[in-house]
Point group: C2
Chain length 393, copies 2
């Protein structure tokens, strides 16, 4: 191993290695359809959107799929369609968009701590957070790791709560060898550039409930059922045909890319597992993750550097990494309020302070993964020297 | 003239003539950039969005332009960024999305009647609707017809109200020979497929206020200022690069297309003006409309058929038309509420019941316009026969 850049060596990567890179089809595979759409003038929410809905319904084995402009819009419309009131149980260890979708619907988040090992909402802390005002649970499959859907649904049933799964990260994940669809009132998946299946911008709301599917179909078009007499307050959340064409082609290429994501995650695990103080997200029992992100937890005492220091070491080598999710939602200024109880989020605080996501995208090369591993190992070997550098700054 | 289809003749158009058709660049003019974006992986909110923002700022002669996913998202974020509370004055004669953007921000619409001739919010009725709870005015340039910006701004100043211009229809319209930008806190334009300038899906928020521009820039990315510590509850309202590239090329072609739209509107006016009972939208003084839509008002007594009947006559000839805006917002079920006063909307009710928008798009051919004119004239000549047909149904 060469000298670490933070210690005066040359960066291991000449060009910046991104944390994510969109999986797109070769342009020649989509250009004819792009051209067709331009000629026909049917550029948004038309036949290719319909076709994507059919193909995804088939892939996820679910009755109804409604394409939307993005996952956030899909969640906002789902909550609206369900006419929820009061409080909704969500994890705080999630991307803040989860909570925003509640806020746009005047719903108050009840934050539940995450599990220390799976990073997902901790099902054993869930019941105690339910009160008279609670109307729903919105679990999130963090980084693609399926939550314990059956246990959550059991609790929801017991208290007559709706379940909306924020499946932004989870296209391609499986539970009991099935896709993560049809467990809640809806699941909403993201097809944005950093996700396993990419449309460009886009999302899908999936459900087995016809009424909800119809409401989302209206809702993405302002709530207009077709006669310009709105039945709900909707959004413009239409998906463009170019994005649908992109996702359709990507869906064909998806099995290969999903396999590649898992391969990279496994490579990381086997390559880093023997480094003291580095641990990984535990995938739930009977589950398989699409690895939207690959995260490590850094224990400073055993590794010798803290999360922020390791991030800087990587940065100097031109390796991007992300403190994700930091800060957690309950520490975001806009969610601090006397109405939102914040106690009992110890795991969330811990994970948020110790987590680092590493580059993962289907096009990654083995030597890139190896180099990242080398840098982390080398950092562990040189913690005193590195700490000296940080002290001098 | 051949026999009208409603009277048993053949439709004048073999293929359905749409009400609108998107103005797109030739595919060959954009495909290289589409390909470049696919190769670079920078497919959303990147350099072409930045470039479009600069070009539009220049075109509209305004300091800041922020591209968003669509006009509705732009308005929702603008209202959020301005932290408005209470009531906002809006026309009821508008597309319902205007009111929806208030609803998503927990703002109550105060509907003000429109002007009988211009269809725009009636400035003389405006002051009496202002009360202690009123925080803003959101006028709409209906069909591209500029509202009386100076008079509205004067009233706003007098009562310390913010003004947000819903300029969804108005890209290309001018007032006092200048673009409709910089009059309010913001103007929000739509670049959706039916608009004079098309991105595919898209909108732009324009302002001379740096703080608001920064808030919208955050807001379109969930409220994230870049450090993942949200400063506001935002949306995903990013514009894709494909849409920005499309709009950039369309902007080059825009002067010609705008001229064509005006030419078509003028053609309609000179061709239909002598038909009894047909009148047109009066364009405001010192103003020029981009004619996002071309509307006629049908006076049944003088024309011989009512609006719905004429729409059916056109339909049978394969000519699309649109009852736009019908029903007006205050008659939509979701906006009927004891908190929203609905009196004094006589002009809105009248226009909404008598208006019909006719096909208008830059690619329209003279013979198509002539045929539409012929059908309307012929309908006027045969009102008794046509009424008989309707009676028999």
């Amino acid at each position: 191993m060469k000298k670490l850049a933070i210690l005066g060596g040359k960066p291991i990567f000449k060009n910046y290695l991104p944390i994510a890179f969109p999986s797109l089809p070769p342009f020649k595979e989509v250009e004819d359809k792009f051209k067709e759409v331009f000629l026909s003038g049917m550029i948004t929410n038309a036949k290719y959107v319909r076709s994507l809905e059919e193909k995804i319904a088939n892939y996820l084995n679910v009755k109804y799929v409604v394409c939307v402009a993005n996952c956030t819009s899909g969640l906002i419309l789902s909550l609206k369609a369900l006419k929820l009131k009061g409080k909704v149980i969500v994890p705080s260890f999630t991307f803040f968009a989860t909570a925003h979708t509640l806020s746009w619907n005047n719903l108050t988040p009840t934050f539940v701590d995450c599990h220390r090992e799976t990073f997902n909402i901790n099902v054993s802390f869930l019941e105690e957070k339910i009160d008279q005002e609670t109307s729903a649970i919105m679990p999130v499959h963090i980084f693609g790791n399926p939550v314990l859907v059956e246990e959550i649904n059991k609790i929801a049933q017991k208290y007559s709560l709706k379940v909306i799964y924020d499946a932004a990260h989870a296209f391609g994940s499986r539970y009991n060898n099935s896709p993560l669809a049809g467990y809640g009132e809806v699941e909403v998946f993201s097809l944005s550039p950093t996700k396993p299946l990419v449309a460009g911008e886009g999302g899908v709301v999936v459900t087995n409930n016809k009424e909800i599917a119809e409401a989302i179909t209206m809702g993405r078009d302002y709530g207009n059922p077709g006669d310009y007499h709105c039945k709900m307050v909707g959004l413009n959340a239409r998906m463009t045909e170019v994005n649908a064409i992109t996702a359709l082609k990507n869906l064909e290429l998806f099995p290969e890319r999903l396999a590649k994501r898992k391969e990279i995650a496994n490579f990381y695990i086997s390559n880093l597992k023997d480094i003291p103080g580095i641990s990984f997200q535990k995938i739930e029992v009977n589950a398989s993750s699409c690895y939207k992100d690959f995260a490590i937890i850094i224990d400073e005492e055993r590794f010798g550097l803290n999360r922020d220091e390791l991030a800087l070491v990587l940065e100097r080598e031109n390796i991007s990494s992300r403190k994700y999710f930091f800060p957690p939602v309950h520490k975001q200024e806009i969610y601090k309020s006397k109405d939102i109880p914040l106690e009992g989020l110890e795991n969330t605080n811990f994970i948020s302070d110790h987590i680092l996501c590493l580059p993962l995208f289907a096009q990654m090369k083995e030597e890139e993964m190896l180099s990242i591993g080398e840098v982390i190992k080398e950092a562990h070997q040189n913690t005193s020297l590195i700490k000296e550098v940080f002290k001098e700054r």
